[in-house]
């Protein structure tokens, strides 16, 4: 498929060390987060996607391009790596300008694109300073600008929010969202799971080099049968509601919230539970809100991989 990023039975071994194993993915447009603890294979997957490393087995295609076709691949791909090294002696502007010149474009065009990319990441004032003198956050931003500079269709961003202050994080997230809204493929790796919830349209969960789940977080959660769904209900008479719920057999465990204005309920049959809730609401219990409590990335990841991995 030429409109997807596809991994077909891809494995990568560094000598005897496993990078990723038997990965099959088909990534659509939008923001896709690669989620997993350090060493789970996120960066390897990104390096494979951009041809920086070659798969030991399997095939990868990025919108129809082979990853060893760097000349064409990087016309549509921008990769912001975690590698914190830059060619020596260059200023921020020179770094971007030189990178753009490598594509063979003329000087004035490269200059214009470089300034535009610098402005997008708010580094205009520091553009003529040596990259070596940049703070961690500034280096992160100049890397992001390198990935964005040539308006790629595919943005691969390895831990893009690392080192950024809250304001810059919000700006960058807005930038990624805008790119995704324009039909870009934005692949982000992160081990900070609450960030993933905010950003992602879909997730790829990795553990020890294996893909353990992929897709929309809610649908991934829905497929996890062994863990009952947790639902938080804010209401006026939680104890009365809890008793009725237990009578109806849809809830298998209920705990009352400390403030006595809500309860946390576990059910294995979410659809029938919601139907029952409608009936109970009509019986005079004032219900303020009903919301799933464990369909976020952190919970899904805990269910799939376990607490130890998440804590790492």
């Amino acid at each position: 498929m030429n409109d997807r990023i596809t991994f077909e039975d891809v494995s990568k071994f560094y000598g005897e060390i496993l990078g990723v194993n038997r990965v099959n993915l088909s990534i659509p447009p939008g923001i896709t987060s690669l989620v997993g603890p350090n060493g789970s294979g996120k960066t390897t997957l990104m390096n494979l996607m951009t041809g920086l490393v070659r798969p030991s087995r399997g095939q990868i295609q990025v919108l129809g391009y082979r990853t060893d076709d760097s000349e064409n691949l990087f016309k549509i791909v921008g990769y912001s790596t975690q590698f914190d090294a830059f060619p020596k002696g260059l200023t921020g502007f020179e770094f971007l300008y030189s990178y753009l010149r490598l594509s063979g474009q003329d000087s004035s065009m490269c200059e214009r694109l470089a300034w535009r990319a610098i402005e997008r990441v708010n580094l205009t004032e520091a553009a003529h300073r040596k990259v070596a003198s940049y703070s961690k956050g500034m280096r992160q931003r100049i890397r992001l600008s390198q990935a964005l500079a040539h308006d790629p269709k595919v943005l691969v961003l390895d831990e893009p929010l690392n080192g950024l202050d809250p304001l810059a994080r919000a700006e960058m997230i807005a930038l990624f969202r805008a790119a995704a809204a324009e039909g870009c493929y934005v692949i982000i790796s992160s081990h900070i799971l609450h960030e993933v919830d905010i950003i992602s349209d879909q997730v790829v969960m990795l553990s020890n080099g294996y893909v353990v789940a992929e897709g929309n977080i809610q649908s991934v959660r829905g497929e996890i049968q062994e863990h009952p769904t947790q639902i938080m209900i804010r209401c006026t008479r939680p104890r009365e509601l809890a008793a009725k719920m237990l009578e109806s057999n849809y809830a298998i465990e209920i705990s009352i919230h400390k403030d006595e204005h809500g309860l946390l309920l576990k059910t294995r049959d979410t659809d029938r539970f919601y139907l029952a809730m409608n009936g109970m609401a009509m019986n005079g219990i004032e219900i303020e809100s009903i919301a799933p409590a464990d369909d976020d990335a952190l919970s899904v990841y805990e269910y799939l991989i376990g607490n130890e991995e998440v804590a790492r």
Binding site: Y14, V53, S70, F74, Y99, L102
Partner: protein, 366 residues
């Protein structure tokens, strides 16, 4: 090569040339290139001092002497004959030797040393009991004769050590240096064919090495000719193939940079430790004269030596092994030598192009 590739090659050259030429870790290459220049400057200074002294000596002579006068003095001549031919010496020394002739008896021998000069050559005449015992004529060489010294330094220091190690330092680091600096991904993330990137880096390295070593070669020639008179320089450059030789030396230097550059480029990609390939290449190039003809051709020095315009003569007393090193037993024709170097370089570049496609960014983020 299409226009896009050429634009990309130029972009790589712009980045790499500056970086390579002004790299702090490459300072030793400049020292290596400058050493023969300093050697010729030191030689010129020493020569100049010696010539000034000889001229002063000639002025102090009783007669205005010529080279013909100096060589007319032979062993066995009497002191009076010498004095009549050359006049009173500007510098003279004498001492008496008591030579034992038997138990308890000695013979007194009177020694004298006269020092003459025509301003270009020094003549030392030693007398024993008023007879010429020994004559020593020290001449200040003309450029044509000094060119043998130049050829020796060019072949045995400049080519085999300076250019060899200079190319090692520059070309081996073109990719390996990026891996050590963890900056290779900068290039690998650009929309450039890896082969184009390699070509750009090679040309940048070639321009840098040629700038350094051709400049050194030109300065060496200038320093070498500095102490000669304008007439001698003119004679050497325009009537004794001096200019032609200088151009050939520059050409050989460029070919050496191409050959060694291509070899060390591929070595830098294949080997992690540069010491092993450098040592192997140095030994291989060193033992080249002892190798069978077919193996000789798989080297760079073999062709370079064939192109050198001046042969370094082997003294009759030189040990055979050393003589083999100095002489070029079976030189090949210039076109064949140039083709040979270009072929060796082309093979090395072809291997590099395969290697660069296989390269991975394996350095970590830690």
């Amino acid at each position: 090569m299409n226009r896009l590739w050429w634009a990309q090659v130029k972009a790589v050259i712009r980045l790499e040339f500056k970086k390579t030429l002004f790299a702090r870790r490459g300072l030793w290459i400049y020292v290596l290139a400058a050493l023969p220049v300093f050697l010729f400057i030191a030689f010129a200074v020493a020569f100049g001092t010696q010539q000034h002294r000889a001229e002063a000596l000639a002025r102090r002579s009783e007669k205005l002497l010529t080279y013909r006068d100096l060589i007319s003095i032979k062993t066995g001549m009497s002191k009076d004959t010498v004095l009549s031919l050359l006049g009173k010496p500007p510098v003279a020394d004498h001492w008496v030797e008591e030579r034992p002739t038997g138990p308890g008896s000695t013979e007194k021998i009177e020694h004298q040393m006269y020092h003459y000069s025509d301003g270009q050559n020094d003549l030392y005449v030693n007398f024993s009991n008023n007879k010429v015992d020994n004559v020593s004529l020290t001449g200040f060489d003309d450029p044509a004769r000094s060119s043998i010294m130049f050829a020796g330094i060019f072949q045995f220091f400049f080519l085999r050590l300076a250019v060899f190690f200079g190319c090692l330092g520059i070309f081996m680091n073109l990719f390996r240096g990026e891996v050590l600096d963890r900056s290779l991904h900068f290039y690998f993330l650009a929309p450039v064919r890896r082969e184009v990137l390699m070509a750009g880096k090679f040309i940048a390295g070639l321009l840098a090495t040629c700038t350094i070593f051709v400049t050194s070669e030109i300065l060496q020639t200038c320093a070498f000719l500095w102490h000669f008179t304008a007439r001698q320089q003119d004679l050497y450059l325009y009537h004794n193939h001096g200019l032609e030789h200088a151009a050939i030396y520059i050409g050989v230097t460029v070919l050496a940079c191409i050959g060694y550059g291509a070899f060390f480029l591929v070595a830098g990609m294949v080997f992690r430790n540069p010491i092993a390939p450098a040592a192997i290449a140095l030994i291989w190039e060193g033992i080249n004269p002892f190798l069978p003809n077919i193996l000789k051709q798989i080297s760079i020095i073999y062709y370079l030596k064939s192109l050198c315009p001046v042969d370094v003569p082997v003294d009759p007393g030189t040990p055979p092994i050393l003589a083999l090193l100095i002489s070029n037993g079976e030189p090949v024709s210039a076109p064949f030598a140039i083709l040979g170097i270009l072929l060796v370089a082309a093979i090395a570049l072809y291997i590099s192009s395969i290697q660069v496609r296989r390269m991975e960014v394996n350095y970590t983020t830690e």
